[in-house]
């Protein structure tokens, strides 16, 4: 029955919900850091260590570095720090990011060709040309891993032959998943992603033919929580525990500086 009372109750509930939901979700001083998809596990672990030792929290959004860099540079995503890979995100961000200070931790990675456990005859990148099977790589437009894969395939002179067999994914983890689920026979991902997966094996390491795969953590110059982001980057640059996390996952650790 629609009584005046019931209208009042419904309107009150709506107002209360409205007001309660205006609280918003962004905590003060918790920086939001956009990062490459391949860093998902190690950064999550580093954040646990950070919180255990300092009591402070960090929030991440993982994805293709180019996608995310565009969201920041062209679409004003409210982000405090980034941890991307490759040159293009850096170019896209330009002077939105603060120059990397000395002593800042950086990571290096390499590419590998993967397949599910009992795969075919591929032993090198060149072998992919004769395989006539699907190959999952990140979309070169969205993720640096796809650009690196494309460079490697072009350097091995097989790009033209296999490009119609390629499956483009939004980031490296989706390419990994495509191979894990059997939807793609082969994939080109980072070494660290292959090492972190139980159901795929590395059939070939790709050592050259592509630009260096370097990750750098940067803070955004005009960000609301830039200082909190900087504190997090300073922490992981100094923490031996975090460096162990990176190295165990297969990253090579280095530091910026003179």
């Amino acid at each position: 029955m629609l009584t005046r009372r019931s209208i009042q109750i419904v309107l009150t509930l709506l107002c209360v919900t409205f007001i309660a939901s205006c609280g918003g979700n962004a905590d003060k001083d918790v920086p939001l850091i956009f990062a490459a998809a391949s860093l998902a596990d190690v950064l999550a672990e580093s954040a646990e260590i950070y919180e255990k030792e300092t009591g402070k929290r960090v929030e991440f959004n993982f994805g293709g570095s180019i996608t995310l860099a565009n969201q920041i540079a062209k679409l004003d995503a409210p982000v405090d720090g980034v941890f991307f890979v490759g040159e293009l995100p850096e170019l896209l961000l330009g002077d939105l990011v603060v120059p990397v200070p000395n002593g800042r931790i950086g990571l290096v990675n390499t590419l590998v060709v993967i397949a599910k456990e009992n795969a075919g005859n591929v032993r090198t990148v060149e072998d992919l040309a004769g395989s006539d099977s699907r190959i999952a790589i990140g979309d070169p437009v969205l993720a640096p891993v796809g650009r690196f894969a494309k460079q490697a395939l072009e350097s091995a002179s097989v790009w033209d032959e296999i490009k119609n067999d390629l499956i483009f994914t939004a980031d490296v983890r989706a390419a990994l998943a495509a191979v894990e689920t059997g939807n793609s026979t082969y994939g080109i991902v980072y070494r660290t992603d292959a090492m972190g997966s139980d159901s795929v094996s590395i059939v070939s390491e790709i050592y050259d033919g592509y630009s260096p795969v370097v990750y750098a953590g940067r803070t955004l110059a005009d960000a609301r929580n830039a200082l909190a982001a900087k504190n997090y980057f300073d922490f992981i640059s100094e923490s031996k525990d975090v460096q162990n996390v990176f190295e165990s996952a297969g990253f090579t650790v280095g530091f910026s500086g003179p």
Binding site: F18, G24, E59, D76, A77, P78, T169, D171, R173, R224
Partner: protein, 232 residues
């Protein structure tokens, strides 16, 4: 499991906000379209229905320009809050509101059309103003259809993906809704986690539609053609 609950909670928050926007707005538009004649009525109908005919990503993209630094909503937000609305939960809620508005307007319109206008005219003739007539005559007669419309709009707002992804991104804890989280989990090969949330969506959808259909069955509209009302 914890993150499942927080994802569902954020989705509900966004959908409730969107419904709070579409309820009054949808009712106003529906009333104009059903009860009033005016120039440009056709245009209003088309504009409000447009999100039904467009790909949701287009709706999201258009909204992105409005809430970003180049848009009027974004600039207003920047002067009041210091930042644009892009990639915030409010942008996600606005996207959900825009895509669910056409459904809400249509449902409300059907509900209003089922109310005999002569009753409203009689009330006005007895001295009641527009608002009082609406609240005491129209709404009580149409309320089942109105609730059904609210439910439809709410569940549509809960399911929005394309527009949300474009205007608010897919940021865990801030703008990752149930559909966005399902997409991420599918992409990451996390099939168990994807199924859990998919199940939640199915359950919510079934409940909403069941109540929606039950309400419409019992509303005045359902008696058309079956009762003797018309044969006096």
């Amino acid at each position: 499991m914890n993150s499942d609950i927080s994802i569902v909670a954020l989705s509900l928050q966004i959908a409730l906000f969107a419904t709070a926007v579409t309820l009054p707005l949808g009712m106003l538009v529906a009333w104009l379209l059903v009860r009033k004649q005016f120039r440009g009525k056709f245009v209003l109908d088309v504009v409000v229905s447009l999100p039904l005919a467009l790909p949701p990503v287009v709706v999201g993209y258009a909204l992105l320009w409005m809430v970003g630094t180049n848009g009027w909503i974004g600039q207003a937000s920047e002067s009041v809050f210091g930042s644009t609305l892009a990639f915030t939960w409010i942008a996600a809620a606005l996207a959900a509101a825009i895509v669910s508005l056409p459904l809400v307007v249509r449902s409300f319109g059907a509900a209003l059309a089922g109310v005999d206008p002569r009753l409203e005219i009689a009330a006005r003739g007895l001295g009641a103003g527009s608002v009082r007539t609406f609240l005491t005559i129209t709404l009580p007669l149409a309320y089942r259809g109105v609730i059904a419309g609210v439910l439809l709009g709410f569940v549509r707002a809960l399911s929005e993906f394309g527009a949300t992804i474009v205007v608010a991104g897919n940021i865990p804890g801030r703008t990752q809704t149930v559909p966005s989280a399902i997409f991420t989990r599918i992409s990451a090969g996390d099939t168990d986690a994807a199924w859990r949330l998919a199940l939640v969506s199915v359950v919510l959808g079934v409940i909403a539609l069941a109540i929606h259909n039950w309400l419409l069955k019992r509303s005045p509209l359902s008696g058309v053609g079956r009762s003797n009302e018309g044969r006096r």
